[in-house]
Symmetry: C2
Subunit: 410 residues, 2 copies
């Protein structure tokens, strides 16, 4: 049955991904944070593509772009996010949006409107690259889990999330309107962002579990002073304390299976060559697929930070974000696996080490996540790459599953 | 004889210092980098004070503010700098300018014009807080040592020094005009920026030697990648390498007497919480009063950085700035000491761990540097403070020395 669906054009998906990747707030590399004019530009481009495919488009109160096909009823939602990290590649997030679009475009052109409604979503602020506290802001809004307190969190330019939304034309007070209660299930296609599929030569990954995630903000305070006149023994150099903490992270993570700990955001103040650092601000990203391991790892990183107080440093820690591990839907996973088999695509079950909007949906509706191989496992960097044939396979398998759920059944 | 000079008003000096410190490019703390509108504002304020004191003012081609008293002849130059580091206090640099001003104001009011000309200078870009490669740009220009190649160095906003000068109304092509060949000697008053005078309860420091200084730019390159999907054992995290290097600096500095090594500027890229750092840029400031120690310390820091290549990191190092230790003039030092004695001020000989414009002048004319105590030895931070009576003592002793050299003798 799946074979009756026309072939999706992977080269077209890739061409559109690269066109989207031209839209950045930085001149030299890709960064498309949420609620910026550049995100608006990307959204308008996506809107035109959604419309060409025959979808009726709208923006929800959070700024998520939605494209719908079919009449009333419980909705099968597919999609991913349109924001990027700083210095991103062209595939993380948008590959899922455009694979979903290619699948729907093909199904609508060949079979007409579905019996049950299907919607494609391009979500805001999954990465938290502008508002680290507000990761998954788009999916949280759809699920009614967007904490209004986060509206007052600030970006590096001290702009609040509420102000950023307003500047982009979205009324923060209307955020609750974004909530959906009519969802039947959620599908997301995403690049693996790791080396496993490529390493094993397997074409698709059906994700069983998405690893749990915590973000701990650590601030270490020493004494800023003149770099030339303060004897080495009379210093309280915040960078010395922070460097010691950073070097402990790998050992802490290795105590737990498939766990990671990373200090990706690390800022030194005041930041002049001839001034001893008085303060260091760190965001520690830690992850583990087991909920108990995740909690213990977070506690141990917090203890490691506070142990610097014994050396005289001031230390504050704050858990900025915490996401439990998510078990995805076995039935939808089996369906994706079966469609892959019928299309003669090799597939494997796997754990996702990355957080995805899908893990938020998994808490409320049956959800599935399909991974595509990416070159060298590189992601969150300009070298990020997925081959056209792999993009096509993801879209094709998704199309087959959607066909069965929304065109054939009901 | 010194006692016949009226008493300088230290409270007035401090009031003016705090008025100047209000002029900053940052809303919340003091940063007054060179060739900014704020520096222009500070310069205009200083110009009005210079004029009130009876000095004839002019700007040289580098943007240094000069105020002159007396007729033709070899000039006794006194002064310091008007730029500040990021997050500075109100005393570093400007205290020397305003102590010099108070001394001249008193002498001119009481004794009229000097027999030999005296000039007061407020110099640009001593700190290199905007253009780290161009520290001492003002004094280098006066001494004909400003390297035109540095005109193409850039600030954090990618503005070149040449452009910054032009924006401030100074023609980089005319820089050689700033050179002076008519200087007889140079005096600088400065806060100690260290704890020695306060700790020993001594009122003034006569500096014999200014420590040598090097600034080594170190760039460490690893592999940026996704923080969640890259196993700990498959990472090349640039921050891990950089943290290891930073922790080695204190041990390297302690091998040499009165040496320091500081990583005050430490930037992590791309800088997102969920991205493994791919690159770290460090400016290592190292200092030693002995020329051989300085050279060896620089080599050992450079070797420590390159040793990271064995772990797979890319490492580049570049010596951005190098200043040999400077021996100051024994005769002028003895004069300051004698004036201090006659004024019943306690004084001691000392080494300066900080770089000062004075060390550039010392290479060409007899030069002297007089240190004032500062509270807790704090400097390059908002807590920086010198008491009115200490400011007054510095101005009084300087006035006594100037009286003997420019009013009494010739």
């Amino acid at each position: 049955m799946c074979k009756s669906i026309p072939t999706v054009d992977g080269a077209e998906i890739q061409r559109r991904l690269h066109e989207l990747a031209q839209i950045s707030v930085l001149p030299d590399r890709l960064w498309r944070p949420s609620y910026t004019p550049q995100e608006g530009q990307a959204r308008r481009l996506l809107t035109s593509w959604f419309a060409q495919a025959g979808l009726s488009t709208r923006l929800d109160a959070a700024g998520n772009l939605l494209g719908r096909a079919g009449g009333a009823g419980q909705v099968t939602l597919i999609g991913s996010h349109m924001d990027t990290v700083k210095g991103a590649g062209a595939y993380d997030g948008t590959a899922g949006v455009l694979c979903g679009l290619a699948a729907l475009q093909t199904l609508l052109a060949h079979f007409g409107p579905p019996r049950a409604p299907v919607e494609l979503v391009a979500m805001v602020e999954e990465e938290g690259s502008r508002f680290p506290d507000a990761s998954f802001w788009g999916s949280r809004s759809i699920l009614g889990q967007a904490d209004p307190a986060l509206l007052s969190c600030r970006d590096e330019a001290e702009v609040t999330l509420a102000q950023a939304m307003a500047d982009a034309g979205f009324d923060p007070a209307r955020l609750p309107d974004a909530r959906r209660t009519d969802l039947a299930r959620y599908f997301e296609v995403h690049i693996e962002q790791g080396p496993v599929l490529e390493h094993r030569g397997i074409q698709l990954g059906v994700v069983d579990t998405i690893t749990g995630l915590g973000t701990l903000a650590v601030e270490i305070t020493g004494r800023a002073n003149h770099a030339g006149t303060t004897p080495m023994d009379l210093r309280l150099d915040a960078l010395q304390g922070a460097a010691g903490l950073v070097l402990r992270l790998p050992g802490l993570a290795r105590r737990f299976q498939n766990a990671t700990a990373t200090a990706g955001s690390f800022q030194v103040f005041p930041g002049s060559a001839n001034v001893i650092p008085g303060r260091v601000s760190i965001l520690v990203d830690y992850r583990a697929p087991d909920p108990d391991d995740l909690a213990r790892l977070g506690r141990e990183i917090d203890q490691a930070a506070h142990s610097l107080e014994a050396e005289g440093y001031g230390v504050t820690t704050q858990l900025r974000m915490s996401l439990p591990p998510a078990r995805l839907d076995r039935g939808l996973g089996a369906l994706l696996e079966q469609c892959a088999d019928e299309l003669s695509c090799s597939s494997m079950h796997m754990i996702s080490g990355a957080g995805h909007d899908c893990q938020l949906f998994a808490g409320q509706v049956p959800s599935a996540l399909l991974f595509l191989p990416c070159r060298d496992g590189r992601s969150h960097c300009p070298e990020e790459y997925a081959a056209p044939e792999d993009l096509a396979r993801g879209a094709q398998v998704l199309a087959a599953a959607l066909y069965r759920l929304a065109w054939q059944e009901t």
